[in-house]
Point group: C2
Chain length 337, copies 2
Amino acid sequence: MVKNRRLILRRRPSGNPVPDDFELVTEPLSEPEPSAFIVRNYFASLDPAQRGWMDDAPSYFPPIKLGDPVRATTVGIVHASANKSYKIGDWVLGLNALEDYSMVQPGGFTAPIDVSQVDSPTRFLSGMGAVGLSGYFGLLEVGKPKKGETLLVSGAAGAVGSVVGQIGKIKGCRVIGIAGGADKCRRLISDYGFDAAIDYRGKTVDQLAGEIATTIPDGANIVFENVGGDVFDAELMNLAPYARIVLCGLISEYNNPSKIGARNIWQILVKQATLTGFLSSDYVDRFAQGGLQMAKWIAEGRMRIDEDIQTGLENAYPAFMRLFSGANTGKLILKIA
Amino acid sequence: MVKNRRLILRRRPSGNPVPDDFELVTEPLSEPEPSAFIVRNYFASLDPAQRGWMDDAPSYFPPIKLGDPVRATTVGIVHASANKSYKIGDWVLGLNALEDYSMVQPGGFTAPIDVSQVDSPTRFLSGMGAVGLSGYFGLLEVGKPKKGETLLVSGAAGAVGSVVGQIGKIKGCRVIGIAGGADKCRRLISDYGFDAAIDYRGKTVDQLAGEIATTIPDGANIVFENVGGDVFDAELMNLAPYARIVLCGLISEYNNPSKIGARNIWQILVKQATLTGFLSSDYVDRFAQGGLQMAKWIAEGRMRIDEDIQTGLENAYPAFMRLFSGANTGKLILKIA
């Protein structure tokens, strides 16, 4: 009998998740339900969005139910199938869970993937996956960068931010990244080609706002926001008139039970700026197209995608927490098998 | 010799303005400078925006200089002129100051007005002025209301909010207003034709959010925001997917040295909503057109404009403070002469 290890959400985290919020259980693997298939998960994407799904709060997906495994995007191989469109041995991408095997009813975000296109199936979770394509569609469709504009990116060394900055450069923008720590700031310039990098660590909102103002005295035409809180407040003090702000993530807020939000939202009024909430799920039908463009840029050496691959379902909790400590260097991925 | 009383900004207010922040001085009136004219101010508009102009902070107009009179939109009659386009006795509208007489260099917001069109020249400060037209252009051009949509308006009994709600009804929306106190809520329905009114007073953010959710379970397609702070946070918990938020004012924040901002901005992300800062100054070249439409609706009895006219430059301070206590019933105007 095949065993299936599953990381169950036992309790909704209050602030920072702790190990006891989760339990790794082992269950026998069932047969595929009618029209479903079972996927052997090889790699899972670890994303800030998963923290939001653990809360009982209105969102674009229902909260993860207590007792259910933690929802995650995975890539894997069909292990057993009762659906003639998915054959044993096929590689598939889908919104599944942190578990060895997932029962999949096709539809939604499930799609076959052609791993012969890429050097590693993890590419479908990084540059060509929902995270890389969040940067791609968020910047191109909402930010609408124009040559010569100034683009300010927070969480710039992260999986989304590094893609956004590189696309900004391809589109002819001046790109400034905000990141935590001198190492990340160095990497923004040396690895991802940003024009300037600002370290937010150890600075008050006023100090950070002042440093941004020194770097871009005319303000940002586009802000790509991944962080929220103090960093966002400092950025808001540096908007150019009619700035477009792409709200893609708020990682500093997800573990904070008393949200800071945006104290300087009045700057959106006086600068006649626009703030738009962006979810890549709206662009799923264009993922293949976006993924091809990303693959082309990667092949041409114009786009660098770093992956931070942690190993083992039993390490899912410490691996996930790397997102919030800022320890991850590149797209955080959990190797399950 | 003609004397000119002027309300001077002596000190930048910290939080709520106090009487000592201002001084009413009397100066001799000079002759018109070359190409300028002197207007005898009859009525001045008292607006929340003036509070912002008293701070030394980046905004769409420079801060009022200490020692200068408090900037205000006024209507008045040309008293003396060195400009052949403006003759003694002409009525004019302009961005002047709280003073008996203003020296005006034509341009900017200065425009002749035809008071024969209206029952009172104050109409050019209320329904047909920048305030009424903020509601007009903000809702129509940014909110883009469609028949059958739900429109949520804060500060709904105020000069902008009451116009927004009435235009929302004309455009076929379901209109819900948020206001402070039972009297204002009654007036929203009886005087301005709102479908429902919610009193925010004495309620926590969660309580107010719950009351809004009971009234509009599917959320608001459009939020027209005049208030900010707790009221805005409660509204943000009640967005329909892809909601459009028109950010027109944040009156609860202007006297608050530690801004609340928008703690629930994460809802803009998960609902893929758009928040746009709106200033009527972008639409000055269409004011005449908007004013005509407003005048037509007023004449047809489809638009009610209330004015709260306080008298005397010496009463400017207590009159202005009515905006922040919520005492004003309709567009607040100061009669100077």
